[in-house]
Symmetry: C2
C-alpha cells in the first residue's frame, strides 16, 4: 500500500495488517450499525457498499475492488453506516484502526497515506454526486463503464473489455436508475456499435465513442 518506506517500517505495517479474512460471494463483511474497529483493504474480489432503509429498499453507494478500502465511514460514530457485501468470493486484510492510528503517529509517510486515502474517497464521492445530479441515463451508464474499465486497467486488466460482477439492478441502484433503464441504455450502446454485450461480458468496441458520451456529459 504505502509508497517509499524503509524495510523496518514496512515490516511494522505488515504486522498490523497481517490478519486476513475470506468472504464468500453474497455474504456481508459488515452491516450498518456494526461496531467499528477495523478498516479493510481488499486483496481479491469486488464488493458493494449500500445503505438500506427501514423497509428493505437499498441504495448502492459504491463498488470496491482490489486495493480499495472499506469501512472509513465507521470512524465518526464508531459504527458502520453502510453494508459491505461481496459480489464474488473475496479476501480482505483486516486493519485494526487504533493500531493504524498508533503507527501513523510515528510514521509520517503512513500518516500521509491515510489522509490521502480518505481525501480520495471524498473526491470520488464528488464525481458520483455530479453524475447523479446532472447526467442523463446514457451519460451515467457510459461514465460508469468508462470509469470501471479504467479502474480495472489500472489493476492490470484489459482497457477495452470487462466482466460486470453486479446485476443490472445493482448498477441501477448505484446510478440512480431502474434496472430496465440500465438494460435499455446498454442495448442502445450496443446498437450504436459502441459496446458489445454477452450477458455480463462487455467489450468496448468504440472507446472514442464512449468517451464522447462521457465528455458530452461534462459539457451540459
Amino acid at each position: 500500500m504505502p509508497q517509499e518506506m524503509s524495510k523496518s517500517d514496512l515490516l511494522r505495517i505488515e504486522a498490523v495488517i497481517s490478519r486476513r479474512l475470506k468472504i464468500k460471494k453474497g455474504t456481508t463483511l459488515f452491516y450498518w450499525g456494526d461496531p467499528f474497529a477495523s478498516i479493510y483493504t481488499i486483496r481479491v474480489g469486488v464488493f458493494k457498499t449500500c445503505v438500506t432503509t427501514q423497509d428493505g429498499r437499498i441504495q448502492i453507494t459504491g463498488f470496491q475492488m482490489a486495493g480499495d478500502i472499506l469501512g472509513l465511514d465507521g470512524i465518526v460514530s464508531q459504527h458502520h453506516t453502510c453494508d459491505a457485501v461481496a459480489l464474488e468470493d473475496a479476501e480482505v486484510c483486516v486493519v485494526p484502526f487504533h493500531l493504524l492510528e498508533a503507527l501513523s503517529r510515528e510514521m509520517i509517510a503512513l500518516q500521509h497515506h491515510v489522509h490521502r486515502i480518505m481525501s480520495q474517497k471524498i473526491v470520488q464521492d464528488q464525481s458520483v454526486m455530479l453524475l447523479l445530479g446532472s447526467m442523463r441515463a446514457d451519460e451515467r451508464v457510459a461514465t460508469f463503464l468508462s470509469t470501471l474499465v479504467q479502474r480495472l486497467h489500472a489493476r492490470g486488466f484489459s482497457r477495452s473489455a470487462l466482466v460486470l460482477r453486479m446485476t443490472r439492478e445493482e448498477i441501477g441502484s448505484y446510478l440512480g436508475l431502474k434496472l430496465e433503464t440500465v438494460s435499455r441504455t446498454l442495448s442502445k450502446l450496443a446498437e450504436d456499435r459502441i459496446i458489445a454485450i454477452h450477458r455480463r461480458q462487455i467489450d468496448i468496441i468504440n472507446p472514442a465513442g464512449l468517451q464522447r458520451i462521457v465528455n458530452a456529459a461534462a459539457c451540459r
Copy 2:
C-alpha cells in the same frame, strides 16, 4: 473544535490555527486547481462548494456554515478539486495542513478529531448520494429544508425558521433539479401549509408534515 484537552495542548492548537481570513460575499476562498496547503474552518458565513466543468456548467456539492471544514478534497492530489465561494460575508480560520499533521502526531485526541472530521464528510456525502439517487423532487426539497434547519438549530438558531443564503438555482444545482422545479416545489409546500415563504425567509409551519415527506422518502 476538539473536545477534552489539556490547556497547553489547546494553546498549541490555537497557535496553528491563529491566522484568520475575511471573505467578501461572492468571492472565492479557493478555486479548482489551486495548490493545496491549508484547510479552513468557517467562523462566520455560509459557503458553497462547486465543481465547474469546462464550459461553465456548475454542480454544487455542498453548503457549509460555521464550524464546518473546507478544503479536505485537496489532500489527495495537493490541489483543490472544487471551488469554495462565500454566499455572504464570511470569516475563516486558516489551518496549514502540514502543521495540523505534525501536531496530530503528538496529540492523540487531535488525530482522532481529524479522522472523525474526514469520516463525517464521507458519511454526509453518502446521504447526499441517497438523495440524488432515489428521491423525487418534493422529497429532495423537504429533506434539504429539514437538514438545513437542523444544522442551523445545532448552531443556536430557530428550529422552525430559516433564511436561505443561496438562490433557487443554487439549491437546484445541489439537489439535481432545475430552479423552476425548486420554485414550484416550494410553492406546493406553502400551498399545503407546511411552510410559509417570504422571499428567502422560510418558516416551517408544520414540522411534522415536513418530516412525513422526508420519512416517506426513506421508505420508497
